[in-house]
C-alpha cells in the first residue's frame, strides 16, 4: 500500500506544480458549481473567467505575469467551502480568493483566510456581518440595505410623493428585513406612513388590506415581498381601483421577470432598485454583456457582473501594490477606485462597498423592467 501512496503523491506534486508556476499569479475562487446553487455559481465563474481573460490579454499583471484562476466547487456546502479554502491557501498558495458564493459559506470559510492573512473577496455575499469576520475579508456585493434607500429617494424625487402605505409579508426573515430597510428609508426621506399592512407569504387574497389602503389616499405603496406574492398584491391593488398615479415600489424580492408576468398590465410603472441591469446603456456594460454572450452563449446576470468587476478590482490592486505580498495587496485593495460595469467602486474602511452611485432604479415598461427615461 504505502509505496503506492507515495507514488500517487509524487505524481500529484509533479503535475500540480507546472514549470511556469513562478510566472503566474494564482488567484483562487470558491463557488457553488454543482447542485441547485450552480445557477448562481456558474455565472459567477463565467464572470471571473471573462475578466481574467481580458486582464491577461492586456498583458497580465506585474509586468507580464498572467493571472491563473483556480476554481474550487463548494456545492453550496459550508464544510466543502472551508475545505476548498484550506486547499487554496495551503496547497495552491493563492494570493487572494474570490467567493465563496453564499454568506453562510463565507462565515465558515472566511476565518481560514483571516488566519492565513490572505484577502478573500465576497462577490455575492450580502448578509450582515460578512466583513466583521476579519481584516482580510472584503466584499463587493451590495447589500439590499444599500439599494432600497436609492429606490425610495428616486420615487420621491420623480413623483413628489408625501404619503405612503407599506406592506410586507411578516412570516419571512428576508422580506421582514427588507421591510425594516424600506421603513427606515421612507422615514429618512421625511415621508408620512399612512399605514403598515402585513400578509403571509402563502396568502393569495390581499383585498382587505388594499381596500383599507385605497381609503387612505396615499401617493405610493412600498412593498417587501417575494416576487410571487408581491405580484399578487400589485395585481389586486389595480383591480380594486387603486389609481395608476399611486406609485408602487418594492425591495429586491421584486427583481424578477415573474412580477410583470403574473401581474400583467397592473405591473406597469412598478419600481425596483438593483445594483446592476443588463440593459444599462453604459458602453462598458454593453461591451461586457456582448463579450459574455459571445463567450458563453448565455446572458450574464447580476452575479456574473459583480464577479467580473471583482476580479478586475483585484487585478488593479495587484498592479498598484507592485507585488503579490499580502499586506501590500490588502493596502492596495483598500485604495480601490474602479470604474466597473456596476458603476464606480470604492471600499469603505470596513471593506464594504462605499458608493451607491451605481444603483439603478428600474420601472416596468411594456411588461419588462427597464431603466427610467
Amino acid at each position: 500500500m504505502k509505496p503506492a501512496i507515495y507514488l500517487a503523491l509524487a505524481i500529484t506534486l509533479a503535475f500540480g506544480q507546472p514549470a511556469f508556476s513562478q510566472e503566474t499569479v494564482k488567484v483562487g475562487a470558491i463557488e457553488g458549481l454543482s447542485g441547485p446553487i450552480a445557477k448562481y455559481g456558474v455565472p459567477i465563474r463565467h464572470g471571473i473567467e471573462l475578466a481574467a481573460d481580458e486582464a491577461n490579454r492586456k498583458g497580465g499583471v506585474l509586468g507580464g505575469r498572467k493571472i491563473e484562476m483556480i476554481f474550487e466547487d463548494s456545492a453550496g456546502q459550508k464544510d466543502q467551502a472551508l475545505n476548498a479554502m484550506k486547499k487554496l491557501l495551503a496547497r495552491d498558495r493563492v494570493i487572494a480568493v474570490l467567493g465563496p458564493t453564499l454568506s453562510n459559506e463565507m462565515f465558515a470559510a472566511g476565518p481560514a483566510a483571516v488566519e492565513r492573512q490572505i484577502p478573500a473577496i465576497g462577490t455575492s455575499t450580502t448578509a450582515d456581518g460578512i466583513t466583521d469576520i476579519g481584516e482580510w475579508i472584503f466584499r463587493t456585493a451590495m447589500p439590499e440595505a444599500d439599494v432600497i434607500p436609492v429606490t425610495v429617494a428616486t420615487v420621491k424625487k420623480r413623483y413628489g410623493i408625501k404619503r405612503v402605505a407599506l406592506m410586507y409579508s411578516n412570516d419571512d426573515a428576508f422580506t421582514k428585513s427588507g421591510f425594516d430597510v424600506i421603513k427606515a428609508a421612507v422615514q429618512k426621506q421625511g415621508l408620512e406612513i399612512a399605514t403598515i399592512e402585513t400578509f403571509s407569504t402563502k396568502d393569495t387574497d390581499f383585498s382587505a388590506q388594499l381596500t383599507k389602503i385605497k381609503g387612505l389616499n396615499v401617493d405610493a405603496i412600498g412593498i417587501s415581498a417575494l416576487a410571487e406574492a408581491g405580484a399578487g398584491v400589485v395585481l389586486q391593488a389595480r383591480q380594486l381601483g387603486i389609481a395608476p398615479n399611486v406609485v408602487m415600489f418594492g425591495g429586491n424580492g421584486f427583481n424578477s421577470p415573474k412580477v410583470a408576468e403574473i401581474a400583467g398590465k397592473a405591473a406597469e410603472g412598478f419600481m425596483v432598485g438593483t445594483p446592476w441591469f443588463i440593459g444599462k446603456k453604459d458602453p462598458l456594460n454593453q461591451q461586457f454583456v456582448a463579450a459574455y454572450k459571445q463567450k458563453f452563449n448565455d446572458e450574464p446576470d447580476q452575479f456574473a457582473a459583480q464577479a467580473y468587476d471583482s476580479l478586475l478590482i483585484l487585478a488593479e490592486a495587484i498592479e498598484r501594490a507592485g507585488t503579490t505580498e499580502n499586506t501590500r495587496l490588502r493596502e492596495a485593495l483598500l485604495k480601490t477606485d474602479h470604474k466597473g460595469v456596476l458603476g464606480p467602486f470604492r471600499f469603505t474602511p470596513h471593506r464594504d462597498p462605499a458608493s451607491t452611485e451605481g444603483v439603478l432604479v428600474l420601472a416596468v415598461k411594456n411588461g419588462k423592467f427597464d431603466t427610467l427615461d
Binding site: 411578516n170 399592512e197 402585513t198 400578509f199 403571509s200 402563502k202 396568502d203 393569495t204 387574497d205 383585498s207 382587505a208 388590506q209 381596500t211 383599507k212 385605497k214 381609503g215 410571487e228 406574492a229 405580484a231 399578487g232 395585481l235 389586486q236 389595480r238 383591480q239 380594486l240 381601483g241 415573474k258 408576468e261 403574473i262 401581474a263 400583467g264 398590465k265 397592473a266
Partner: protein, 293 residues
C-alpha cells in the same frame, strides 16, 4: 369602503364555503378527515391551466375538465388509500395519516412535474379592469366566482335533499351498515361522494387560480387550514354549517384586516375556531355528538 370590504369578504367567503362543503361532505359520509383535498385544489387548477394553455380549449370547458379530472383522480386515490382501511375497519387516525402521506407524496410529484414556480392563467381570458358600481369595484372574475358558487351550492342542496342518490348519501352518513341493509349500495355512494367532493374542491382551486393569479403545487395548503376552521365552526359533516361558516370566516378575516390590523387576520380566523370548540363543540348548528358514536 365598508361596502367594498363587505364585497371582498363575500368573495373570499364564497371560495372558503365551496371548499369546505366538499371537505365536510367527505367527513360526513366517509368519516375521514381527508388531507388530500389540499392537493385537489392544485390539481383542479393545474388541469384547467394545461387545458387552457396547452390544448387551447375555452375557459368554461377547461373548468369542467379540471373539475371532472380531479374527481376521477380523487376516486382513484380513495380506492387506493382509503377503501382498504375502511374494509379493515381501521380507526379514523389511520385514514388521517394515510391521507397526510398521500398529500405529501402527490404534492412532491406535482413539484417534480410542474416545478415550484407560480403560474397564472393567460392574461387575456378575463378582463382585469374592474367595473364600478358606485363605490364598489367589482372584477369580472369576482362576479364569475359569486355566480358559480351560488349555482353550485343551490344544486348541491337540491341534490342532497331531493334526489334518491342524495337520500342514499344521507342514509350512509347516518349509518353505513343500516343503509346497506336497506339496499343502498354503500361502495357506490362512497365513490360518488369522493367524486362530488373533489369536484367542488377543484372548482374552488380553479376560481382561486383565476382570481388571484397564482397557480402552484402548494396552493391548497392555506385553504386546507382554513377548511379545518370552517368545518369545525360549521360542525363536522354539516353542509349547511360549512356554507355559513365559510362565509363567516371570509367576513372575520376581511374585517379584521380592514378595521383592526392585518397582523391579526389569521389569528382571528383560528381564534373563532378555538372559540367554537369551547362554546359549541359540535359546531354552530351542532346536534348532539353522542348520536354519531
Amino acid at each position: 369602503m365598508l361596502a367594498q370590504q363587505l364585497f371582498n369578504a363575500f368573495v373570499l367567503g364564497s371560495v372558503y364555503a365551496l371548499f369546505s362543503m366538499g371537505f365536510t361532505l367527505t367527513f360526513g359520509v366517509l368519516r375521514v378527515i381527508n388531507l388530500l383535498y389540499g392537493f385537489y385544489v392544485a390539481a383542479g387548477a393545474f388541469l384547467s391551466l394545461v387545458a387552457v394553455r396547452d390544448i387551447g380549449v375555452p375557459l368554461w370547458a377547461a373548468g369542467i375538465l379540471g373539475a371532472f379530472g380531479t374527481g376521477i383522480i380523487a376516486v382513484a386515490c380513495d380506492s387506493a388509500l382509503l377503501t382498504p382501511l375502511r374494509r379493515a375497519k381501521a380507526p379514523e387516525l389511520s385514514s388521517l395519516i394515510v391521507t397526510l402521506g398521500g398529500v405529501l407524496l402527490l404534492n412532491s410529484l406535482m413539484l417534480l412535474i410542474f416545478g415550484a414556480e407560480v403560474r397564472r392563467f393567460p392574461v387575456t381570458l378575463l378582463s382585469q379592469s374592474p367595473i364600478s358600481f358606485g363605490v364598489l369595484q367589482i372584477g369580472e372574475v369576482q362576479l364569475v366566482i359569486i355566480v358559480i358558487v351560488a349555482v353550485l351550492v343551490t344544486a348541491l342542496f337540491l341534490f342532497i335533499e331531493r334526489t334518491r342518490l342524495g337520500i342514499a348519501i344521507r342514509a350512509v352518513a347516518e349509518n353505513p351498515d343500516a343503509a346497506a341493509l336497506m339496499g343502498v349500495n354503500v361502495d357506490a355512494v362512497f365513490i360518488g361522494v369522493s367524486f362530488l367532493a373533489a369536484t367542488l374542491i377543484a372548482i374552488a382551486g380553479i376560481l382561486i387560480g383565476l382570481n388571484f393569479n397564482a397557480v402552484h403545487p402548494y396552493m391548497g395548503e392555506p385553504l386546507m387550514l382554513r377548511g379545518f376552521a370552517v368545518v369545525i365552526i360549521g360542525g363536522l359533516g354539516d353542509i349547511r354549517g360549512a356554507l355559513v361558516a365559510g362565509l363567516a370566516l371570509g367576513f372575520i378575516e376581511v374585517m379584521t384586516a380592514g378595521y383592526l390590523s392585518s397582523n391579526f387576520k389569521d389569528a382571528a380566523a383560528f381564534a373563532a375556531m378555538v372559540a367554537t370548540l369551547w362554546l359549541r363543540p359540535s359546531g354552530l348548528f351542532g346536534r348532539s355528538v353522542t348520536r354519531r358514536a
